[in-house]
Symmetry: C2
Subunit: 598 residues, 2 copies
Amino acid sequence: MPEYKAPVRDIKFVMQELLDCDKHYKKLGYDDASEDMVDAIISEAAKFTEQVIAPLNQIGDEQGCTWTDGVVTTPDGFKDAYQQYVEGGWPTLSQSEEFGGQGLPYSLNASISEMMSSANHSFAMYPGLSHGAQATIEAHGTSEQKQQYMPKLVEGSWTGTMCLTESHCGTDLGMLRTKAILNDDGSYAITGTKIFISAGEHDLSDNIVHIVIARLPGAPEGSKGISLFIVPKFNVNEDGTKADRNAVSCGSIEHKMGINANATCVINFDSAKGFLIGQENRGLHCMFTFMNAARLGVAMEGSAAAEAAFQGSLAYAKDRLQMRSISGVKNPDGPADPIIVHPDVRRMLLTQKSISEGGRALIGYLSQLVDITHASDDADVKADAENKLALLTPIAKAFLTELGFECTSHGVQVFGGHGFIKEWGMEQLLRDTKISCIYEGTTGIQALDLLARKILGSKGQILKPFMTDIAIFSKDNADNPAMSEYVSTLNSYAKQWQMITGDIGQKAMKNADEIGGASVDYLMFAGYVTLGYFWAKMASVAQSKLKDGGEDEAFYQAKIKTAAFYFHRILPRAQGHAACIEGGVDSMMALASEDFAF
Amino acid sequence: MPEYKAPVRDIKFVMQELLDCDKHYKKLGYDDASEDMVDAIISEAAKFTEQVIAPLNQIGDEQGCTWTDGVVTTPDGFKDAYQQYVEGGWPTLSQSEEFGGQGLPYSLNASISEMMSSANHSFAMYPGLSHGAQATIEAHGTSEQKQQYMPKLVEGSWTGTMCLTESHCGTDLGMLRTKAILNDDGSYAITGTKIFISAGEHDLSDNIVHIVIARLPGAPEGSKGISLFIVPKFNVNEDGTKADRNAVSCGSIEHKMGINANATCVINFDSAKGFLIGQENRGLHCMFTFMNAARLGVAMEGSAAAEAAFQGSLAYAKDRLQMRSISGVKNPDGPADPIIVHPDVRRMLLTQKSISEGGRALIGYLSQLVDITHASDDADVKADAENKLALLTPIAKAFLTELGFECTSHGVQVFGGHGFIKEWGMEQLLRDTKISCIYEGTTGIQALDLLARKILGSKGQILKPFMTDIAIFSKDNADNPAMSEYVSTLNSYAKQWQMITGDIGQKAMKNADEIGGASVDYLMFAGYVTLGYFWAKMASVAQSKLKDGGEDEAFYQAKIKTAAFYFHRILPRAQGHAACIEGGVDSMMALASEDFAF
């Protein structure tokens, strides 16, 4: 089992040196988020995740959650760890002070979420989902609803869920069947069965507040007839205290590939008492307001998994002696060389490292954009942040989870046969991470959201501000010979990205299926270039730091060398995707569905 | 749980139409392998795998093997199924008549192995490994050893294993510590602990014959000091009957990511009685003689997994209704369209299909080469077959297992959230298949074998005969306009392959690490092109069949359309690998191992 060590130095590099969070927080009025405070919180979070959360990862996988007569028990140690999590005030960090939160920025919490997710994907999901439920109530609930539910949710003594999926519909929520019928007292009777409800039932909190989508009688068909409801496990008195049990029950939990310590529940609503959030039939709209944040959270799971896999792989690769380096013996006193001398092992390690660190930079940047949407009072700045989030969130979600999954697979591979054995912990990372490519919208759905809805839906306009950022960066670094290779490569990829976009747009006018045919390759191409931009920025910052002299030279040198690896060995993969896009959709649509097999 | 249906039509297409096995078998003197006989055996094997083996796949995963005081029990139904397997004469199919085998060609058995592996990876490994042990004894044992061990092994009432790995060495077998000391009676006392011994202990057979590598006192260091021994679980009398228990015991079994129904054992040899096979210190050499066949068997697991994932995905994609086609409603009477209408779902299905069918063609071809090495009396023909096997086996092993793993991941993805749930069976395929990228030499090891040992080791000479095949195929199809796109694309890739080879050779003269830096990308490039050649050949055969008229038009059309998909959407991926190779090794070697993390 690899021991998790929070990458504090790199988290600080991203937050403070790359993204200058101090200035960013000051500008947005987050006065409490001083450099000292950020340092202290990061250090405490590192300790907590290393000492409390990470040690439960493997036992959580082994034991899983258990279901008995509707009661779900989390694995040994989870309840106690969650208690410590609440007592430490962690759930409240970036929540509104109005409801007992500490009012710190989203992006600060995001860096802690990354540590939690690397340390224990299953555990991290409990607070993650609860934040989603809170965001919904805070954005769309009445002030009474907020007073009733938010304080306990913010505190963490209650948790929340999102109840969307039904057995016949996941992506296509317009097909949902769960019904909501108005009661005399203004509440609604919710009836239906939801599946795949993460953290839907468990023993960590006193109450569970479900956010449920359902259909009102006579509601329009499809996604325009979806309404959103608060349905608590225990009814809640007006003063926010817990009352009697609501007609909500957990019918069973799923047996899954991974994230075994997070209960994935079938939740039955049997005329359960629910309360409308927002307007009737506007449920999907309400959900979209926090969808970006939820997807960003899953994107982070991808790079967090890459980090965890990297740590395990690196320790093993330094320790495991096997074969001699092809370019000459490196460990003459040992019976063989450590496998980190072999180029192909390094390829896997550096892939993990460049995705983990590159992903951290991308997520860090997007989290700051979320801060801006929360706290900026400049409408233009806010609109620009929303625009960039709209573009980059599906890219981050799908690209980082796909690459994160690849990195966990490298983790297994670096360990050879031992990687396949549970006790080493590497295969668990792979199993846990696969879900991140699926939930909150599969890779295919993110790709359609990006290409169809956003890129082509805006006739490419949405791409422009990001391209401008690349152009500005290029200009800023034009006179720096150490950056010239990065700048010219990046520019050529940015141009290619725009050309590909234009080509698909042209083709799509003749055949709309060209969009779906190109979408995933397009997203992956975009992902490689986007991360290239962040790697170039990191290299540039590291070069400046080196020029300034001072400490941490090896750290900055490593950053520059990893950027070089990314540009030479990862970014070129984009050419495979570009070539596949060129192949067009015709050969994908030619087979009638009955002719796929004989 | 997807229901397995043996792809009989496609297996026959590959064997009979693409590779003309009838002529091939006649030429080699396999007179019993008539077309009727082949048909009958394939049909019976299909029935057996569908009805007996496949239904045990899921229960095998759930229950796994259990270990109690050295005794390993296979999951419910495995013992009975194995009994049926033996009674049906399946283990004997391609074994020597001298020892009770049916003397049929290797390639015929390979097509049955594919079905077994798609149906139940864990089950298929028991006979698979036994065949490996038999091949070793048959090739290198004394005639007494053969008489003692072969009949029961061939019959299947005994099974065999390969005991190579120790906890500190897998790839680097030269480091092994297991000792062999000569006894007075000419036998050896074998002492040591082997790990990762698949089928090392179980309840399917009366005796287990371990083939063990060990080191004699004073043997040369490294791989030149490895000797090979037969070490049976029960000692064997001279007449081949079972005697008393040998000092061989199973210390424990591993808890693994997958292939849970195949026991992965720690085997302790405690002065166990063993018998030298072949010459002293020539053990590794003896093993190499059947290494190609073993690796070919694992390569087949890759395409077999792609087939199984394809079958599950296809059934689900036709059945699952979700969203409307972007190019217009396709299922107006239903609440949504089946997801097979969506281009990106088709991309995943066609990737699975093209890898499964393309892999089948490649494996079929390589299996015929093995037939030639077994049965041809023409030394040149035999040498040519061995040469091509040497080139194409590592490509097939690594490329097909990597792509097979990808295809099982697509299988999970096509099912969305349901793919992550055990009951649907898709995640098991992914978990089971990952091991194929590792055992019998990881992807990285195959890539070094290909590029360092074979390609550069022969100064590229080993590549020439295959390039000649492509040239001949191109010439044969030069006048066929329907093939012109395939031919020109294939030729351009073949040229690029040779150029890349030359470039790496140049670079490697300056820095040997360039080989390891390029190796996996090089192998993947080679894999895409190799499969492209087989897809072009299949398209050409299908076109001829259509021209001839007659039955199965839809089947041949599908073949041609799948070839088009492969050429337009899969083969271009090779460009990503080519671009990464161009990136060189410098950025991979720049970081000191202590600077990978801070």
